[in-house]
């Protein structure tokens, strides 16, 4: 369970009070510039953000924890624009993140290759440089691979659909549905109607400058029909 109380980020938004419960799926929506991405990175503890308020994950106060410590608790953020690191291969990155031992290397590599094949990524994707010389869609698929390879309890995905083609959206929806279970939590920032339909969220969160409005999936339908200002 992720609990935010008076969660504010200077110059972005203030006083967000919300609890994301275990076993549930949430869609976050909001106008451009309202701070949807910043909300996710604020929870992840990005060092350059000026954050106030309380944030607690499964009973642990995250306020004083560094980003890597939050990640080790099982929190995962999928980047809107994944960062490129030339010289570090996609699989080496997973190996470092998961601290894979030599004996488990083959099993993990096979799993990585299976997922990348299923997502329609090129052969030897594991050897390619991390988010380098890749299309926007390929980078998003790479984020999905990372989520599936890491032992995450909370996944926060920032517009995972952007850059994906029709088949990619279908694969994304399937993979996320399969990943989701009663022990984890999924938060997705998106405005893509088909993805929202596919995820069938338990709640829709509308982020505003001064807080949040929470509703069921019908809130998303209202936003699509009337716009942000009229809900």
């Amino acid at each position: 369970m992720l609990k935010l109380e008076n969660f504010s980020i200077t110059d972005i938004f203030s006083n967000v009070d919300i609890t994301f419960e275990q076993g549930k799926t949430y869609v976050v929506m909001g106008a451009n510039g309202v701070g949807k991405s910043t909300l996710l990175h604020g929870i992840m503890g990005r060092p350059d953000l000026d954050i106030s308020g309380a944030v607690e994950f499964n009973g642990t106060d995250l306020t004083e924890l560094e980003t890597d410590e939050r990640a080790k608790l099982g929190i995962f953020v999928g980047f809107q624009t994944p960062t490129s690191i030339p010289g570090l291969s996609n699989f080496q990155f997973i190996k470092q993140a998961n601290k894979i031992k030599a004996v488990d290397l083959k099993e993990n590599l096979d799993k990585f290759r299976d997922i990348s094949t299923q997502l329609g990524l090129p052969a030897e994707w594991d050897k390619r440089n991390l988010n380098t010389d890749a299309s926007g869609g390929e980078k998003k698929k790479n984020e999905l691979i990372q989520l599936l390879m890491l032992d995450s309890k909370l996944a926060m995905l920032d517009e995972p659909d952007s850059g994906l083609d029709v088949d990619g959206i279908k694969s994304l929806t399937e993979k996320l549905s399969n990943w989701k279970n009663e022990n984890n939590t999924l938060i997705v920032v998106t405005h893509y109607e088909k993805l929202i339909d596919g995820l069938n969220p338990d709640a829709v969160v509308l982020l505003k400058k001064d807080g949040v409005q929470i509703g069921d999936k019908s809130l998303a339908d209202k936003i699509f029909s009337s716009g942000f200002e009229n809900v």
């Binding site: 992840m44 990005r46 060092p47 350059d48 560094e66 980003t67 890597d68 990640a71 080790k72 995962f76 953020v77 980047f79 994944p82 960062t83 690191i85 030339p86 010289g87 570090l88 990155f93 470092q96 993140a97 990372q146 890491l150």
Partner: protein, 417 residues
């Protein structure tokens, strides 16, 4: 013997450009020293033979002065660090044979230590793939042919040659074809165990026509070491050098001169950790249709110095050059890179790329980079890119967000990849 070699009085002395006395030094060291060396038992009297020339050469050096810190290739270098290095007299050379006897059991391996060359057993005798001309043991007439390749300049090569005028020559004859490409020749540049002593080597590698050779050079300096190596790439030859220099407590000056004949290819891959003072200079003389590639991946350890000067001169047609040097500077490291292309008026179709990227890991790191392109013809393609940057915070955060601990290590590794 060398205690005061790098005393400030030497370094501060201005170098007269019109009366450098290089010819005298050249004649003295190339001819007089070799007279009288005829029998193999000279090894036993090695010290005695060269003792007087050493002292005389030192006097010459005192007159001509050592490189000036204001010279182009030493602009950013901490030459003053050498002021305070002291050197005790060297040990008797005979002891080296005992100290480095381990090389005998190796395969395709050499040790170069203070002008003495020691080779693995398989390189002795009539080896069709490699001919070693050891000055001390003999071959003096052949030596003189090679010594003419030694040019007098204003860098440290003068000093190195003066300390080590007994030039060792390694010849890769045409008949060896690719023998030393598949099984590289390992060349160890080492110091003897005498604490604080300065060791110098002057060496010539002759890669003859159409030979493809590979050298694995390992430089380990436990004390002061000065190397002056000349590589002759004959027509149609290929030379690949894999050089690793690790800090072993000493300091190092390494001058490499490459004489590239037409249609030859040179590839240098080097890694360096720096030391209390390391200067690595590459002087590449291109003729025509040469392909030159220099890849440097240097992780300069905490508090170490590493200074590199790469100078390629191209005066003929159709030369290709790719210089790609990446340096990482840890805390209190001091590095400099100066790259220079001199492309003459007749060097049409020169295609050169010079890149130097530097990654600073601390605010206490000093890193300098300077590309110099002196182009005297229009019909070329030439570009450079030199950068100095810190750790990318976005990359750092991305790694952190996946729970990675050893972030600096990973980013350094990926940068140097």
């Amino acid at each position: 013997m060398y205690k005061d070699l790098f005393a400030e009085v030497f370094l501060a002395k201005p170098i007269p450009t019109d009366n450098y006395k290089l010819d005298e030094l050249f004649n003295f060291t190339t001819e007089d020293l070799l007279d009288g060396i005829e029998s193999s038992n000279v090894v036993m009297s090695y010290n005695k033979v060269f003792e007087k020339p050493y002292f005389t050469n030192l006097k010459y050096l005192k007159n001509i002065g050592l490189p000036n810190p204001k010279d182009e290739q030493f602009n950013f270098a901490n030459l003053h660090k050498l002021y305070n290095i002291e050197h005790t007299p060297r040990i008797h050379r005979n002891a080296m044979h005992e100290e480095f006897s381990w090389v005998a059991e190796k395969n395709n391996e050499l040790v170069l230590v203070d002008g003495t060359i020691l080779a693995s057993n398989n390189l002795h005798g009539s080896n069709p793939s490699l001919r070693i001309l050891d000055t001390v043991i003999g071959n003096t007439s052949k030596q003189k042919e090679y010594v003419k390749y030694i040019k007098q300049t204003t860098n440290f090569t003068n000093a190195t040659y003066a300390f080590s005028p007994f030039v060792n020559v390694m010849i890769f004859p045409t008949g060896s074809k690719e023998a030393y490409h598949k099984n590289p020749l390992v060349v160890n540049y080492l110091n003897n165990s005498s604490i604080g002593s300065l060791n110098a080597n002057t060496t010539i590698f002759d890669i003859q026509h159409n030979v493809s050779a590979k050298l694995k050079e390992k430089v380990r300096t436990t004390a002061g070491q000065m190397n002056y190596s000349i590589y002759i790439l004959r027509e149609g030859s290929k030379l690949e050098i894999d050089r690793t220099t690790k800090d072993a407590g000493g300091w190092s000056l390494f001058d490499s001169v490459f004489i590239c004949h037409p249609n030859s290819e040179l590839k240098i891959k080097s890694t360096n950790t720096g030391s209390q003072y390391t200067q690595e200079n590459l002087y590449i003389h291109s003729s025509s249709s040469n392909k030159v590639e220099v890849i440097g991946r240097n992780n300069i350890h905490k508090g170490n110095d590493y200074h590199q000067f790469i100078h390629q001169i191209s005066n003929d047609v159709d030369n290709y050059s790719n210089i790609d040097v990446k340096n990482v500077g840890n805390e209190y490291a001091n590095t400099s890179f100066i790259g220079r292309y001199d492309v003459g008026a007749l060097s049409t179709n020169f295609d050169g790329v010079m890149n130097n990227q530097n990654l600073m890991l601390s605010k206490n790191t000093k890193m300098h980079t300077r590309p110099i392109l002196d182009i005297k013809t229009k019909e070329i393609q030439c570009q450079h890119g030199c950068t100095v940057s810190n750790i990318d915070e976005k990359q750092k955060y991305y790694l952190q967000s996946r729970g990675v601990d050893n972030i600096n290590e990973i980013l350094v590794e990926s940068f140097l990849c």
